[in-house]
Amino acid sequence: MPESSIKDHARESRLFFRRAVVTTVIIFVLLTVLVLQLAYLQITSHEHFTTLSRENRVKLVPLPPTRGLIYDRNGVILAQNLPTHSLEITPERVDDMERTLADLGRIIDISEDDLKRFHRQRKQKRRFDSIPIRVSLSEEEVARFAVNRHRFPGVDIQARLLRNYPLGEQMAHVLGYVGRINQQELERIDTSNYAGTSHIGKTGVEKTYEKTLHGKVGMQQIEVNALGRIIRVLESHPPTPGKDLHLFLDAGLQAAATRAFGDKNGAAVAIDPRTGGVLAMVSKPGFNPNLFVEGISSADYKRLRSSEDKPLFNRVLRGQYPPGSTAKPFVGLAGLETGVIASGKKKFCPGYYQLPKHEHKYRDWKKQGHGFVSMQDAIVQSCDVYFYSLSHDLGIDKLSKFLGLFDFGRPTGVDITGELGGLLPTREWKRRARQQAWFPGETLIMGIGQGYFLTTPLQLAHATASLATHGALVPPRVVQRIQSSQQQADPPPPPLPVQLPIVDTKNWDDIIEAMVQVVEGPRGTARRVYTDKYRIAAKTGTAQVFTVKQDEEYDEETVSAKMRDHALFIAFAPVREPRIAVAVVVEHGGHGGAAAAPIARAIMDHYLLNDKP
């Protein structure tokens, strides 16, 4: 008989019983060990632990680090921490919350938003956590509460450091702002390092350099009495404060650039071509970043969000505009470098261009045409027909490959998050994105910076800076150096210029000379910004927002403001040893020479004439 079919139930039952007895014995032994340990803790060492419990009520309190400050290149403070008073409630110590809130509302102004935020946080936090009900109390409110304090057990005034941006709106798009840590961020961050921190960088430099600015949390072992009041500090592991940032930015220049815009919207960037340092970065309109620090009210936020001017939109990094005629120096350089055209060779401009065997007329901005023009004439007078013809000769592949060298079509790698890369169209891109072949006509309009071609103001300034340096491409940088309060300044990260593979110096010189004539020549499109104090190389541009039909004419007067062309301008100066490269976009500003050039001039004047080299 197979073994498995025989079962001796009585024997198995006895076996189980024996084993059950053994386990019972083991259970008793283990429980005895446990009770002995408890007796040791609760009887033998009772006094020791009672002492510890009564007199040595040690509590761990996180010490949040102080956020690093942000300075401009001249030491002007851009982001600081100001002590503010906030009114906070510990729910555990309040018997009747409704009444307490109602009574508080009678002596201190508490808005609907404050209440909503308070109740939301109350759900998330523990009963013994102190929760702010009002932030930024005025001196008077602090005094008024102090007098009534005895009526409000569980309500306290807390002094906290709050981030403050003294220059407000002007710097909002560069610095970004800090705000309360939200749920998503909570999942991403190291919660122990943020144990005492309430704010985190949300955009701009504040976000990009969050780790550097934040520092490391400290811990304090404190002794509290039976009511939880702090008696003394036992052990303290101080926090490591966040490091300070020194930017390339010049606050004065930024102010001058913002002023120069007046009430117009747009963007301006100034870069030091030698270092890639961003000297000014203006996106108009701005917004008050200080609103976000305290927790913006929903009405304010809605206003910012729904405004047609899009004040929260960072035009410098994320505004993608057709470069218009500002693309011409780069297209011209492509023609010279590839040998498709010689700089002295003239083309005839009758006011329009037709592809071989095509009827369609690609029009020049000047209806009667420019006549015979050389490369220099074409850049100076911004002749479209010359560049239609040149682009056609180059072809889309060579054209976009060459423009790609200047980082068109991809982010420049600036040290602020959220940068967009514009769009540098290629055959491959069109097949992928539009499921269409590339048409020759599209090459023509790309050659004058229209069509699919899109750039951000930062990309334009970056590319202009590389013209100034004869092709040494340095990634733009906002932060110049990082400094911790105890240590010496960290050495600046070495800039890594990429030398563009354009070897013929004459090609650079020809293009730059043409750009100088844009300002200095009798027919230059930027004659009005001429100055005898320094020499400027520049190019104007006008980007169509609205397509003019084949037989219509664009008339600035009749086109509504929202449909008017964007005005663009790129420049660098001084022509010999350039120290500043600028790109300006004025939204719906009309012609680049008229609307954008004066802003660039104001920026360069301020930087070159006031600032010592």
Binding site: H9, E12, F16, T23, L31, L41, Q42
Partner: protein
């Protein structure tokens, strides 16, 4: 008494089924002594929880709802005859293993570990199912043949334990892996594996300890190190144990009185309503309170073992015994951790700690015990 084959029932077929008497035991298939013990324990637990939660009635209410659910599960499980459970055993086990794999593959991330399956309406922890499925499977598998098991069955049974344990340990959930492993080990032990083998395994385990250390995650190693010397890290991981010992020690023989524990009320004691609730009890009710609690546990465990020894077939005996002993592991590992005898392993104090998942599993286990006890048939003399 000898029977020709394992398939024929142990009870004489001609005898009239004589079930235990009374409404609770007879009709509702509940065991009055065990039920009384459980209710007393849960009641005591709620009193402690009210204090540990910082007098938060809402938290006590939530726990009451969970208890109601858990007792309903107990009631339902008590109605299922053991023969039925026995038939389900391999299926439950297979489903459990599949779900554990699913958790590893596509599980939700929770506290850096993957433990849940999101079933839309609620999250399900397959490791809880496996806590019961492993002893069921092993009891079924081993009771199919003569006991003590031969080498072949023994090794298969060992594999049935090790696979789910490894799957859970990979989540990683050290506490549950430990509980599942102990459930499997208890079935094997109760099935009568030889003492030589037990001794040999103990030696082998000792030898494998360094390997285990190598496999542990950094935070698990930290816990072991902290256990060996809590003062080495008074601000970090050692803080739990130091504060817990202060709470227990300062409680003394009679305790500081209900709601008067300073360690928990002033928030020195972390996890005071979950894993460290034992320390709150010790602080407020003293050694006396602890002895009452331990007496309740001891009563429940001894009653469980009694039910297991009185079971009529091997399956019932092995399953009942193992489920009971797992509860003891819960109690001992938790109290050992809180008193500093054992390293910190995330195991709650059964039926007392705040939280729902393991509560339901434990109650299901007691339901099975009651079913084993109340579905017996009277043997002929």
């Amino acid at each position: 008494m000898k029977f020709p084959s394992a398939s024929s029932p142990p009870a004489a077929p001609e005898s009239t089924p004589a079930r235990p008497q009374g409404l609770l035991a007879g009709r509702l298939h509940l065991d009055p002594p065990l039920l009384t013990g459980l209710i007393l324990l849960c009641g005591f637990g709620l009193i402690v929880l009210y204090s540990a939660s910082g007098e938060d009635l809402a938290q006590v209410e939530r726990q009451l709802i969970r208890l109601a659910i858990a007792f309903s599960v107990l009631f339902v499980m008590a109605q299922v005859p053991p023969a039925q459970l026995r038939r389900w055993s391999p299926w439950l086990f297979g489903a459990g293993i599949l779900m554990l794999i699913a958790v590893l593959v596509a599980g939700q991330i929770g506290k850096g570990a993957q433990r849940w399956l999101d079933l839309g309406l609620f999250r399900f922890q397959p490791s809880e199912l496996i806590k019961i499925a492993v002893p069921m499977m092993l009891a079924w598998f081993l009771s199919e043949a003569r006991l003590p098991p031969d080498w072949r069955r023994l090794s298969i049974a060992a594999g049935m334990t090790i696979v789910p344990v490894l799957l859970i340990a990979k989540q990683p959930d050290l506490g549950t892996a430990l509980l599942v492993a102990s459930a499997g080990i208890f079935v094997l032990f109760l099935a009568g594996i030889s003492w030589w083998l037990i001794g040999g395994l103990a030696v082998l385990l000792g030898a494998l300890a360094p390997l285990l250390w190598y496999l542990m995650r950094p935070y698990q190693r930290q816990r072991v190190l902290t256990f060996l010397n809590p003062e080495s890290d008074p601000l970090g991981a050692g803080y739990h144990i130091i504060q817990s010992k202060i709470a227990i020690g300062s409680g003394g023989v009679y305790g500081k009185g209900w709601l008067n524990g300073t360690q928990s009320h002033l928030e020195f004691l972390p996890e005071s309503s979950t894993d460290f609730i034992f320390a709150v009890l010790a602080e407020e009710f003293g050694l006396v309170g602890i002895l009452v609690l331990l007496a309740l546990y001891l009563f429940i465990i001894l009653r469980g073992l009694y039910i297991a020894t009185r079971a009529q077939d091997t399956y019932g005996r092995l399953l009942g015994g193992a489920l009971t002993l797992v509860v003891f592991v819960y109690v001992f590992v938790n109290t050992g951790m809180v008193t500093g005898l054992l390293p910190v392993v995330g195991i709650p104090l059964p039926l007392v700690s705040y939280g729902g998942t393991s509560l339901v599993t434990i109650m299901a286990g007691f339901g099975i015990l009651m079913s084993i006890h109340t579905h017996r048939k009277l043997l002929p003399p």
